[in-house]
Amino acid sequence: MTEQVKDNVIFDVKDFNLYYGSNHALHNINMQIYKNAITALIGPSGCGKSTFIKTLNRMNDLIPSVRLEGSIKYKGQEIVNSDINVYDLRKEVGMVFQKPNPFPMSIYDNIAYGPRTHGIKNKSVLNEIVEKSLTDAAIFDELKDRLKDSALSLSGGQQQRLCIARALAVKPDVLLMDEPTSALDPISTSKIEELVLKLKEEYTIVIVTHNMQQAVRISDTTAFFLLGDLIECDKTDTIFSEPKDKRTEDYITGRFG
């Protein structure tokens, strides 16, 4: 049984610390992220959720002043301060951003961007990937006749689902989502939530959210961050029904945040 649990661990975070220059932004984070589950990271603004999620695919490398300590193992492989191939890591651990950021190209080229990056040039293979990704992101029917149109002509919600499709096109194992619905209207938000629940069958999902109802609706595990500390990480039901820490309770009952 223990062995099986171990196989299910995608990310194993141990004593992880992160500094922006001299600012100690994340303190001693310990948590595990499980396969084919949705892990929600909640907490007030500026508590380190986004910073943490960006470590999981080393997007923090782009900020020169960032310094990391401790260990994060992705499928048993160390990714903190190690010389793993970050391009391959980012291919396996895809990311969807807070603000929909389709490239100023056609819808087709947006989806094909990732595969092309990794060397796929064959037209029919690309066609197949584009169709599959758009279908998986539940947006193919809406867009199948406009693949040549600019991605910027889509609505915000469609753009975000396009970005999810774009991330799926490189066949990742994990999908990191940094507040993917915070810039969207309620209807687009519920479409994305449905999509995320469906994607769980094939992918491991880590989602940062400001919206606690969203965490309750979609996640299996919830981690509560406060001022750079991971206060509590447990089954979502447990966190929201009987939190162990007073601060978690205060936050989820709306006493601050």
């Binding site: 695919n57 997007m59 291919k91 990311m95 951003f97 490239f103 961007y113 600019s150 991330a167």
Partner: protein, 292 residues
């Protein structure tokens, strides 16, 4: 307190007077521009002929054509643009996308600004000493081109940098997030977005090169020989602006001088118009809704 009738009247007078002054300034400016254009066209149109545009100056045949000067200008500008474009764009990409020491960037940017403000005659002097003499290019279009390259690097760097800065950070993150390497990201996402800025910079630089004379007097020479590209670039040759100076000041042939002036004026209109037109068109091609 309410204004008395006389107070209101004097205010109105004052307002109208100031308005009149401003109007005068505007009309004076416009009148000057129109006078200049009209005068040049008036003086040059009688001399425009197929002959003057297609021949070289020759005492034997009695022609004073400007074709060599036109070709020299084209050779010079083409060469300079081909060299300055990769240099300037490359430098701008380094400064915006790669350099991670803000201090170094500041210093380089300051140097670039300074370079832009130096009077062109100084470039001419240095160009003559360095390219013509030290590197041994003699007085040639090549030496002139290289001098223009140095003069125009700042424009290309600045316009490219401005447009690199308008590329949303989200595009870069999106590309990195899919596992793209840095240069691949720049080539596929960032550069296509700022092609309009690069083209604008290119045309601005072309305009400045067309109008440059002081630096070329030292470096490119005065010859009016009809040459092919490779002969032309290595020998002395007058561009339109230099030829204008020579005809007007040293030979007193004002009809040719005015024809050249008119050609330069037309080129100037074309470059200005092109830079705006192309920049708009390219932006729209990428951005049907004008979003950035």
């Amino acid at each position: 307190m309410l204004n008395t009738a006389s107070n209101a009247a004097s205010r109105k007078l004052y307002k109208n007077f100031m308005r009149g002054c401003m109007l005068l300034c505007v009309s004076l400016t416009i009148a000057l521009v129109f006078f200049l254009i009209a005068y040049i066209l008036f003086r040059s149109i009688p001399y425009f002929s197929i002959d003057i545009l297609t021949t070289k100056p020759s005492y034997l045949r009695g022609t004073i054509g400007v074709l060599p000067d036109i070709l020299n200008t084209i050779y010079l500008v083409l060469t300079a643009i081909v060299i300055v474009l990769p240099l300037g764009v490359g430098a701008a990409i380094y400064l915006t996308e790669y350099a991670n020491s803000p201090k170094l960037v500041k210093v380089i940017e300051y140097a670039v600004e300074t370079l832009a403000g130096i009077p062109s005659i100084i470039y001419g002097l240095v160009g003559m000493l360095f390219f013509c003499q030290f590197l041994g290019f003699q007085t040639s279009l090549l030496a002139g081109s290289l001098t223009l390259v140095i003069m125009n690097i700042p424009i290309i760097i600045r316009t490219t940098q401005e447009s690199l800065k308008t590329v949303p950070q989200g595009y870069r993150e999106g590309s990195f997030g899919l596992g793209a390497a840095k240069f691949y990201m720049i080539r596929t996402v960032v550069l296509p977005c700022c092609i309009d800025g690069i083209v604008t910079g290119c045309i601005l630089a072309t305009g400045r090169m067309l109008g440059e004379s002081a630096a070329l007097l030292f470096t490119a020479g005065f010859a009016h020989t009809l040459n092919g590209y490779f002969d032309g670039i290595t020998s002395s040759g007058a561009t339109l602006t230099v030829a204008l100076y020579v005809y007007a000041k040293e030979q007193g042939e004002f009809e040719v001088a005015f024809v050249i002036a008119a050609i330069l004026l037309i080129l100037c209109f074309i470059t200005n118009y092109l830079s705006q037109y192309l920049a708009n068109r390219m932006r729209n091609a990428h951005n049907p809704q004008g979003q950035r």
